[in-house]
Assembly symmetry: C2
């Protein structure tokens, strides 16, 4: 399904053999290629369609990989991958042992810096440019492409603020399409919106205030503008920013018109763009929807409840509340640090803020969780979505460290409900007002209960739960991975105890003492790093309490897990049903 | 030593009884009071002297504590504390059970939000203002005072970016004195420097671009300007910023002239301002100087070495290298996130970046350590100063979580040298080029070895060390707290083994196996949180390896430790010599 031109192109050296007037045709072929593959294999669509011309222009004009090119976040890097040796592998995108959905240093010399989280590109490219300068290489070009949502994040500002006082040869290309995953927000976005192609903001140019030379805005789909400007910029020294305006989803009508949906649309018809409708009516809910629908329900009954998301209204399902109660559901943009301290400020005035942040992104606000929330013991409610292995997004996005990094923080309650109903009830319990902050972790994807919207029940903080009673061996699981343990026990047909710890902190020490007295072998199970995780807590409990039972801890081992389906990755990590069965069989002798 | 006016003033209500023409006299008395107390009791000086007029004006004009007033960082909050009920306690500043050196919610209703780390104030005040709005309180004023170094941090930008699209009634006062602890850096600072009293920046006003109403710059020491402007601003709705220009150290000549030194000058003569010279020539070096002098020495011999500090040139002692090799020693401002990813970018190009960040501030760059450094396995060298208990700066500044939050990160080497020589040698070893990133933690203050500048020796990564051989009980310590163990063993006169683990990760498992075979009781000791710390690692090792020895873990317990001397706090945490002795005696039976 490769077009006439694209079939001959594997590397930028091939690209450079084309005449410039052939490039619009190539752009068209690349779009078709991406659409065809993503339509069946799934992945991120809109961002890549928006930068096809830009990608061609950059590889055509610059001397990659000697010139260094860096893509912020990386959702938009499919054309880049296709033009840099990975066209034939593109159908393996995001699959186990296939290419990564993001640029990755180990994958290609053209991927100068691994990305996934937003707003890292300015710092990284500046580091590279300073390195070139120190090496005396003044010819090398350093280019970072960053979107308008990403550049509004604090980290990007820190990079600009430093870059502006250097004389490094860097070019920041601001790819302004007025949207991240959801529409961009914030004062900087409003400011950028005033800029139009051909009309640079005349007053209060933030970029110029930060000592960057400002070029544009130009039409990012127009090869002639791109070529003229990039050729000019190659000869301009010092930090410079080129503002280009593009359309996310460009070239696929439905993707242009429904940019949020077509960010990562799942399967669709490559010809019509129509989404392949899968019947989800009988499926259990996504955990994000359990959160999103429950907070809406709670907020309707309690005016003190606030919802906060850093740029993930759709992904977190806070969207439901934003639609119905916009004054109390806030998207703060890609600003995790701000989101957390904003919540702390609200809690200090008696509000009940629910701060919904993916596990991997909460890493961005770690200091704020400690310094602004936990130290002051302000009852902020952290709703940690995408906890555990997330699947195809891979190593940058797995939420596997949160138990370890939160467990050491005093005052914080750390909860991991086992299913939809428990998630719903712990959200309810937290909304009643706790005397401590609480972090509630739940995974990507769907649970197993259709009938989850039952009437609320208050959960006792710190209480563990017996799920099944057996002999000698007890499985202690935390969170939704309980499901794997239950399935494994069922399959063995053995008499095995299973306890669910909905609270990693505080631990139910009374229940633990009972369990340790009644069972010789303890098997802990968690969808998180074993180092410093739930299992570590159990081992510490045993040590402090003088129990000498045999303890086996299953969880994510001490290395980075890459991309694949959740099931495949669970197998790699050894937290899949089969490995639990094997571990049971190896250790159960009765 | 209180002046005629100050002696009658304990609260803002007293202050309001004065006529405005008396306020310059009061300002003078407050300055004298602060100078007199800090001269003998030590503490932060310059920042507070710079905001005396501002503080008086704010409490005079606004209706605190109903109007909410928040100080960013809090170094400058001494006049605020003196005017809000803590004058008589001010001599207990930073002492055990005395008042905190920073605003603290549990200390006073006038302290609306605890601070210590920079750049949190805009997010917090916005949270409070949104809360007021939701409660229908449109009269309440919300004021945050932030310095020019702090406002250049990413987190502050995130707050401004959000605030600019709200209609909240917030006033950000930019206290511009062109210095943080060290002189401010970055493009925003350069931009602000162009503003002069009475002349607002005419073009490219960043603040206005972010949709704030901009007022000033005015002279922050001139009561009449302050009163006029603040009275006006009380009546202006929406987000607004007042730019005031002040002099750090105002009123004490030497503090004005040497602002870095007089940020926290130690003891000095209140009359003359002269520092009380303590003879430090025979004292062992500060660990920060071991770092600062060693990196300079290494960098002279190796052109690939870079030093990076986020706004702590003096505190980290990177200053030595900045003075001698400025092109390779960089202060990036209060921008920990940027600092880490900048280092990663450099490492990707073959440079050897040493990134010096205090333990408590590395929390700000946690995601970058995981996502940009460890995941890509880039050999960045993190020099983690102020690890462990730091003393008088208290809960916001103790570096007690780093072992726990770093230990769970794959690829990362985690090192804690026991003394100056080992710190020097691990810095040397890292400079030779490692295949992994490494974090090296060392404490605030001085070590015990004067003769530390010996010739370099390469350290084998992951190797533990026998310090003294005994029987039955073995102490396993990591880092400089080894000193306490050594002293305790000496004092007991018992035959006890002592092993130093210079590497928390990777652990020396061979040595551990020997130790566990030869001793019945294991006592671990660390200057860090026990939860998820070194001791946890040892317990996990024992569990995995099937050892059933009795293990006792000493470290910082699972609650926040407040301020006091390091010795006092070690006692509270139970990692002091006395408690080690007691623990030995309780557990050693031979």
């Amino acid at each position: 399904m490769q077009g006439n031109l694209l079939q001959h192109i594997n590397y930028p050296s091939d690209l450079k053999k084309l005449r410039t007037e052939q490039l619009p045709q190539l752009a068209q072929e690349i779009r078709e290629f991406i659409i065809n593959v993503v339509a069946t294999k799934e992945g991120h669509l809109g961002a890549s369609l928006g930068v096809v011309e830009l990608t061609i222009a950059l590889h055509y004009i610059f001397n990659t990989p000697d010139d260094l090119l860096l893509w912020d976040v990386g959702h938009q890097a499919y054309p880049h991958k296709i033009l840099t040796g990975r066209k034939k592998l593109f159908h393996t995108n995001r699959q186990l042992n296939g290419i990564s959905g993001f640029p990755k240093r180990t994958e290609s010399i053209y991927d100068t810096f691994g990305v996934g989280h937003s707003s890292t590109s300015i710092s990284a490219i500046l580091g590279m440019a300073l390195a070139s300068k120190l090496k005396g290489d003044f010819k090398k070009q350093h280019v970072a492409v960053i979107g308008d949502a990403s550049i509004a994040s604090g980290m990007a500002f820190e990079g600009l603020n430093h870059a502006g006082v250097t004389d490094t040869n860097i070019l920041i290309i601001l790819n302004d399409n007025a949207i991240g995953i959801d529409p961009s927000v914030g004062a900087l976005t409003n400011y950028l919106t005033k800029a139009k192609i051909g009309y640079k903001p005349k007053s209060n140019n933030i970029i110029e205030a930060l000592n960057f030379k400002y070029y544009g805005p130009i039409d990012g789909h127009d090869f002639s503008s791109l070529f003229d400007t990039l050729e000019t910029l190659k000869k301009v020294d010092g930090p410079k920013l080129l503002h280009i305006i593009t359309t996310k989803g460009k070239g696929l009508k439905q993707a242009e018109e429904n940019q949020v949906k077509y960010h990562a649309p799942g399967k669709f018809d490559a010809k019509t763009g129509n989404l392949v409708k899968s019947n989800t009516s009988n499926l259990p809910p996504k955990f994000q929807d359990v959160f999103g629908l429950t907070i809406l329900e709670l907020a309707k009954a309690n005016e003190k409840i606030i919802g906060i998301t850093p740029a993930m209204p759709t992904g977190s399902s806070l969207k439901y509340m934003m639609d119905e109660i916009p004054e109390r559901a806030i998207d703060v943009g890609i600003a995790e640090q701000h989101a957390v301290t904003l919540a702390a400020g609200m809690a200090s005035q008696g509000l009940i803020p629910f701060c919904a942040i993916y596990s991997t992104f909460l890493q961005r606000a770690y200091d704020q969780v400690i310094h602004d929330v936990a130290l002051q013991n302000l009852p902020v409610i952290f709703c940690i979505d995408r906890a555990g292995l997330v699947g195809q997004d891979g190593a940058t996005h797995h939420g596997v460290f949160d138990i370890a990094y939160l467990n050491c923080i005093p005052n914080l309650i750390l909860s991991a409900p086992k299913d939809e109903i428990e998630l719903r009830n712990i959200l309810y319990t937290a909304s009643l007002g706790l005397s401590n902050p609480i972090a509630i972790r739940y995974p990507r994807g769907r649970g197993h209960n259709n009938d989850w919207q039952k009437s609320f029940e208050k959960i006792e903080i710190g209480k563990g739960q017996l799920l099944s009673k057996g002999k000698k061996l007890a499985i202690l699981s935390t969170g939704t991975i309980a499901h794997n343990a239950t399935a494994a026990i069922k399959e063995t047909g053995l008499s095995i105890s299973h306890y669910h710890f909905g609270f990693i902190k505080p631990l139910d020490r009374n229940l633990l003492a009972e369990i340790f007295k009644e069972h010789s072998t303890i098997l802990t199970l968690e969808d998180g790093a074993v180092k410093g995780g739930f299992g570590s807590n159990i081992i510490e409990f045993a040590n402090t309490s003088g129990f000498k039972n045999h303890i086996i801890t299953l969880g994510i081992p001490d290395n980075f897990i890459h991309h694949g389906t959740v099931e495949e990755l669970q197998e790699i990590a050894g937290i899949d049903i089969k490995n639990i069965i094997n571990t049971i069989k190896k250790n159960k002798r009765d």
